[in-house]
């Protein structure tokens, strides 16, 4: 009986939770760094080709993205299977490029506008016709720095 009583009096103190905030913060920071926000839903299938001579895109604010690919299953019924250009969150034609570029340009501070890069995320499977039209349109709009998005592979021997 006395044994039982003693146990009750000496209950174990709870695990110290002092370091819990640190752990949680660390996890938070980790996910903040790793997570890449996708601000637009992809409406085209984009599987970029592989290349070896890659350049990293440094400043995200100076980059605008243009996607070309075939519509995803969700949009197939409405838009068919022909390759489409996606600007922002909707399908567009090459004629919409100048306005799209101008809008992005307006959001960039004046001094940095000459280093704006267009990142072209184009599907493997697309033919050069639509890509050529896009290139012409970019040149007409004065957007000359472009980056063909690609996956890393080793150089061929």
């Amino acid at each position: 009986m006395s044994k039982f009583k003693k146990k009750q009096g000496n209950t174990t103190p709870g695990i110290s939770t002092a370091s819990l905030p640190d752990i949680v913060f660390m996890l938070l920071f980790f996910f903040m760094v790793v997570t890449k926000m996708r601000d637009t839903e992809l409406m085209v299938k984009v599987n970029t080709p592989q290349a070896s001579e890659l350049t990293k895109l440094e400043k995200k604010t100076l980059v605008n993205f243009i996607f070309i690919g075939r519509p995803t299953d969700k949009f197939k019924a409405k838009f068919g299977t022909k390759p489409q250009i996606q600007l922002g969150d909707k399908y567009a034609s090459v004629d919409d490029i100048p306005l799209f570029l101008a809008k992005h340009k307006a959001s960039v501070p004046e001094g940095q506008r000459q280093s704006i890069i267009s990142s072209l995320k184009i599907d493997n499977d697309v033919t050069m016709g639509i890509v050529g039209d896009l290139k012409t349109s970019l040149r007409k709009a004065g957007q000359l720095k472009i980056n063909y998005s690609a996956k890393k592979r080793e150089r061929t021997k």
């Binding site: 146990k7 290349a51 895109l57 000359l144 472009i146 980056n147 150089r155 061929t156």
Partner: protein, 181 residues
Amino acid sequence: MAKKNRMANEINAGSMADIAFLLLIFFLVTTTIAEDKGVLVKLPQWSEEPPPELKLNTRNVYSVLVNAQNQLLVRGDVMDIKDLKNNAKIFIANPQKLENMAESPKNAIISIKNDRGTKYQTYLEVYNELKSAYNELWEEAAMVKFGKNLDQLSNAQQQEIRNEIPLVLSEAEPTKFGEEK
């Protein structure tokens, strides 16, 4: 007596931070962050006027044609894409000073032309091979001239090498073959 002592002891939370750090480092090492990478290209300025007629010596021009069937025609001969890089390197550097290859790397011009029906994948592969031909030539030149890797050189030295072997890649308007319907 021993039992009583164990009850009173608190779990040591001091090592918790170490465990958390370990986890953090583990995740940092194993996670590959999706990066935006790609082949950087500078397009030529748009002009309404037709380009000036340039008299180019044919020995200096390395023409690459990619047709709608994704086949390559390099200087009039069919070529496999695997051989493109080494062939281009030999053309630009011309180590044996052959009559039918570039007078000097400074004069060499690469010209690409594709059909509208050419696959984007093939096009980018061709572009990538030609770019890697130049990159390798630069690296070799850096080794010979400064005895260092290209990325260890100062900007001025890199520029010097790039001026010696300038990358001149001209792209013609695509021909209208094999357009997708």
